[in-house]
């Protein structure tokens, strides 16, 4: 099956600094890929290239087989790649429904907001992800980290995300909420989304991901199915991995 996302030989230079030195990454539908590596390994640069924040210095991105070029985050979103930022990017003074439709509001023929309809759609979409979430008219500042995450993810799913990039999704959450987000990610995978998970937490990675890809110093130093490796082996790659030849298409 053709991958949802194929990134080939992606390099990114900032002046003289080679943040990424030509890496490959595939994400298939219905798959959770975890991107691992220490700070400065190049994970977040790759994420930002895929979400349209940076243009790569070299390399190609193909989405469902077609070559894509992202000049802005809006381009990536148009290609159904949605990013759940660590900070979640929600306006705290608006309620869940307001944030859900922010920038894509529904209006009637006179230009007025269709508030009830937006509330109902948002409530249903969020409820599907988080059954404990009841009131979409509460300002976001009163909500927990897990509930905020549910809004951000439900929004991405509702607007037809095919690929979801999740940058440290559990960083700001308590243990109970982390478990909820884990359930959520599994459900989205079942629905056929491709998920790129960036995380420092090996526990979380092994609980959620189908594959791990390890970066070190801007190069890809390893990849494995989580079912066929263990935390020690992955840690070993993160610390002392050696760049592997660019050949994802053939291997994992």
């Amino acid at each position: 099956m053709k991958p949802l996302v194929e990134m080939r030989d992606i390099a990114k230079n900032f002046g003289g600094v080679h943040a990424l030195k030509g890496v490959d990454l595939d994400i298939h539908a219905g798959e959770v890929v975890a991107l691992l590596g220490h700070n400065g390994a190049g994970k977040s640069v790759l994420v930002q290239i895929l979400s349209g924040v940076f243009a790569p210095s070299r390399g190609t991105i193909r989405i469902e087989g077609r070559e894509a070029y992202f000049a802005s985050p809006a381009d990536a979103r148009a290609a159904h790649i949605e990013t759940i930022y660590q900070t979640l990017a929600l306006a705290e003074n608006l309620d869940a429904a307001g944030n859900f439709f922010l920038g894509r509001e529904l209006t009637n023929s006179l230009g007025f907001l269709r508030k009830k309809e937006m509330r109902d759609i948002a409530a249903e979409a969020i409820h599907r992800l988080n059954p404990n979430f009841s009131n979409v008219t509460t300002p976001v500042r009163h909500l927990s980290g897990g509930q905020r995450q549910a809004i951000a993810i439900a929004r991405a799913v509702h607007f037809d995300a095919r690929v979801l990039i999740m940058d440290e999704p559990a960083a700001a959450l308590g243990p109970h909420e982390t478990a909820q987000v884990g359930d959520l990610i599994r459900r989205l995978r079942e629905q056929g989304l491709g998920i790129l998970l960036v995380s420092h937490d090996l526990h979380e990675v092994f609980a959620l991901a189908d594959r791990v890809v390890v970066f070190r110093n801007g190069q890809r130093v390893g990849a494995a199915r989580t079912s066929e490796t263990n935390q020690d082996a992955v840690l070993q790659m993160m610390i002392a991995g050696i760049a592997e030849p660019s050949a994802e298409g053939a291997g994992a």
Partner: protein
């Protein structure tokens, strides 16, 4: 069980949020005023209260919209003065001049707002400094233009005089204009995409940017609205007087700011409601009215206004921290 109680408290608080605590204050102030002075409830006095609040109230509505966007507009007082002087200098003595004496100040007020907005939303200048600078610029400019002298006019058309002197449904025209603009502002802020986006910009500009909201265009329009509203106030001032000391029409921006904040608009942006500003204007006007009826001096009225503002800021900050 404990969560049930928690949710109840939550709901009660939310209901209070929806009504706006300022309306409870207004009810209390109304009761107190009625008890304190038997003249307060007379129709003449009620109309008088509304009339006094209308001019600064219109400025306060624009201020509320700008505060929601996360900024201040301190140039509005100078815009009131500029518009009033323009109207009088043009001299609305014929139908043609009347139209000019209304349209030109409105355009000037909108233009001032446009410049404010582009400097603040476009160039990211601090709005307090930028609009304070605009205030000085306008004061200096207008005073220089009229040579520092008083301006006067004569033989205004009936229509122009009716702007401040006429009435509709028993309400003075400025009150009608004020309430009309309040409804307009409330509809704009609560029922349109523009209002929703302005709340988002004031609440979290980064979230708004990532949602694809046009920050410069939407932020600038808030200032255009504020400048236009202030110009409307200025035209109403001009309609009320024949003769105007430009330096006497100053300082509307701070009572307007007081009212907006008393109504619950957050200085940090993203929170505030035009109709709550109307209630706040009524509270302030009633308090000063009752003090006047009781024969208390102007100095104590200023003191009371200061006290109200301090209490309002303290209350709102406390509640926001608590939640």
């Amino acid at each position: 069980m404990s969560t049930a109680i928690l949710f109840q408290g939550d709901n009660r608080r939310r209901r209070l949020d929806r009504v706006g605590p300022i309306w409870i204050v207004l009810a209390l102030v109304l009761v107190a005023a009625t008890l304190l002075s038997d003249r307060f409830l007379s129709p003449d006095n009620i109309v008088n209260v509304l009339h006094q609040g209308a001019i600064v109230g219109i400025v306060a509505l624009g201020m509320t919209v700008v505060l929601i966007s996360g900024h201040f507009d301190l140039s509005t007082g100078a815009v009131v003065m500029m518009a009033a002087v323009m109207s009088i200098v043009i001299g609305p003595s014929t139908p043609g001049l009347t139209v000019v004496a209304i349209i030109l100040p409105l355009l000037a007020g909108a233009a001032v707002g446009l410049v404010n907005g582009l400097v603040v939303a476009g160039l990211k200048a601090n709005s307090i400094i930028a609009t304070l600078g605009m205030q000085f610029l306008l004061f200096g400019g207008v005073l220089a233009a009229v040579g520092g002298a008083h301006v006067r006019t004569d033989g205004e058309t009936e229509f122009f005089l009716a702007l401040a002197g006429g009435s509709l449904f028993g309400l003075p025209m400025p009150v009608v204009v004020f309430l009309g603009l309040a409804v307009f502002a409330a509809v704009l802020m609560h029922l349109t995409v523009y209002g929703r986006h302005l709340y988002a910009i004031g609440g979290d500009v980064e979230a708004a940017r990532r949602a694809g909201i046009r920050l410069v265009r939407d932020g600038t329009f808030a200032f255009v609205l504020s400048g236009t509203f202030a110009a409307i106030s200025g035209i109403l001032v001009a309609s009320r007087v024949r003769h105007l000391d430009p330096t006497g029409v100053a300082g509307y921006e701070f009572p307007a700011l007081t009212a907006a904040v008393l109504g619950g608009a957050a200085l940090s942006g993203g929170i505030g409601r035009p109709l709550d500003t109307v209630a706040a204007i009524l509270v302030i006007t009633i308090v000063t009215n009752v003090m006047t009826l009781k024969g208390l001096p102007y100095s104590s009225q200023l003191f009371a206004q200061g006290l109200i503002l301090a209490a309002a800021v303290a209350y709102h900050e406390y509640r926001r921290r608590e939640s």
